[in-house]
């Protein structure tokens, strides 16, 4: 039976892992991720979750351990944030080459120095080019559901890539919201146990082999190209995963994108995660003022939904991208991606970047409304 509860984003993330029946969890504490792994550790100790919890000595080792666990044939989970993500990044990249479909929750937090524990997206966006599938959750229900969907996608035999699910630090991680915690049987119906189709590190069930010894550039290039192919396959797999999720659970978070009032919109706001949710919340007021605004909530940042973005932008007369992040010397990170996409698809709708909410600075409805009104004035 499903349970209706009011829980934080971190608890929702823990529930996502629990309902996915993860078998090995390795984690290292960092604010604001801690309550995810505390919850999981508690369930493991109480015997409510049949998993091994490895309290490793660093994030680098957390990712290393889940790679090893996944390679040995189990479903593995970890979670981190900010500096922790950067400390593990060598292994984050390694998980892709190892083709270990692990799932990681990232509670987005600003980078130091100076110390700042509040929300910002730059941490996860720094892993943009590693080959991880990236889900950006807009609310706590989506946090939980995206983790379940992430396993479906990551473990799909057309994909076999790791996936991360982002939730904004504090804005989601420590904010309680109503969440429907799904019935385990239904989740089992949606997500079958992990059966690695490619290789298993277990001499009891497999002949000896070596994974990852040196190869020549021409072979290396083919191996890397296959990752790109897997990433492309992921597009359809994500769409199918979202569709079937909707069929079973009756919840629709979008697939790669969730469009809100974009059909007749003159101005479309693009944003990630909880920022997109906040933009959505301003729509009512703006529309009441006669401004035709829509929001495209970018749910999946890798693979990047280029075609969808181009189509949405093409219909609009102006695009605003809100970035809670910055690539110094370049642009907002999402804005840069959107601009490049529109160039590729020969869409000439003007794009305005709005960088807001850096280091947890508030993003209030009036900030978004002001940004829209500025565009209209021009």
């Amino acid at each position: 039976m499903a349970i209706y509860d009011v829980i934080t984003g971190n608890d929702a993330a823990a529930w996502g892992a629990r309902l996915s029946k993860v078998e090995v969890i390795a984690a290292y504490p960092i604010t604001p991720q801690t309550t995810i792994v505390e919850k999981l550790a508690e369930w493991v100790e109480k015997g409510e979750l049949n998993a091994k919890f490895i309290a490793v000595e660093s994030e680098h080792s957390a990712m290393a351990a889940v790679i090893g666990a996944s390679a040995a044939g189990v479903r593995a989970f970890t979670a981190t944030s900010s500096q922790g993500l950067l400390y593990m990044i060598e292994m984050v990249s390694w998980a892709v080459g190892a083709r270990t479909p692990v799932v990681m929750a990232i509670v987005n937090r600003a980078l130091g120095p100076p110390w700042n524990i509040w929300s910002e997206h730059t941490d996860a966006l720094m892993t943009r080019d590693t080959g991880w599938i990236q889900f950006w959750a807009a609310n706590n229900q989506e946090v939980m559901d995206s983790i379940i969907q992430a396993y479906r996608v990551a473990e799909d035999k057309k994909v076999l890539l790791p996936a991360m699910v982002m939730l904004g630090g504090f804005v989601l991680s420590h904010t309680a919201m109503p969440v429907k915690i799904h019935d385990q049987n239904k989740v089992d119906q949606y997500l079958s146990p992990y059966e690695p189709p490619h290789y298993v590190l277990n001499p009891k069930i497999s002949e000896a082999f070596a994974y990852g010894n040196i190869l020549f550039p021409w072979d290396y290039a083919k191996v890397r190209l296959s990752i790109e192919k897997a990433m492309r396959n992921a597009v359809d797999v994500i769409k199918r995963a979202a569709k079937e999720f909707h069929e079973i659970f009756g919840i629709w978070h979008g697939d790669l994108i969730k469009e809100v009032n974009t059909d007749d919109a003159e101005i479309v706001i693009f944003a990630l995660g909880a920022v997109a949710e906040q933009a959505e919340a301003t729509l009512e007021v703006l529309r009441r003022n006669g401004i035709k605004v829509g929001v495209a909530k970018i749910r999946v940042f890798r693979p990047f939904p280029k075609e969808e973005i181009a189509k949405i932008a093409d219909k609009a007369s102006h695009v605003i991208v809100i970035d809670r992040d910055i690539s110094f010397g370049w642009d907002g990170i999402l804005a840069g991606e959107v601009k490049a996409t529109l160039h590729e698809y020969k869409v000439d709708t003007p794009v305005t970047t709005k960088i807001m909410g850096i280091g947890g600075d508030d993003i209030l409805p009036e900030h978004i409304e002001k940004a829209v009104k500025e565009v209209i004035k021009k």
Partner: protein, 90 residues
């Protein structure tokens, strides 16, 4: 590889004798076991870094596999009765 597997080209290697080629070509000196002198102590076999000395029981005189022997001459050094001689090859 079929088209449907192109996304899963994995760097998996399989155990193979001679994986690094015929390493016997690296040799400058060649160790030669003198059967009559050999006391079958197996020291040469034990210390060969290349598993290039073969033996299937202690009753046999060990044999050098020249396809892979790199000519380090550890066997020559460790033989307690000087039953191995070295010959220059190149």
């Amino acid at each position: 590889m079929s088209k449907s597997e192109e996304h899963l080209l994995l760097p998996i290697s399989h155990p193979t004798k001679g994986a690094g080629g015929k390493t016997g070509t690296w040799r400058v000196f060649k160790p030669v076991i003198i059967e009559e002198k050999c006391i079958k102590c197996m020291m040469c076999w034990m210390y060969c870094p290349d598993a290039a000395i073969e033996v299937s029981s202690r009753q046999e005189v060990p044999r050098v596999n020249y396809d892979y022997c790199k000519g380090c001459l550890i066997c020559y050094e460790v033989c307690p009765v000087k039953a191995i001689r070295k010959e220059r090859e190149v």
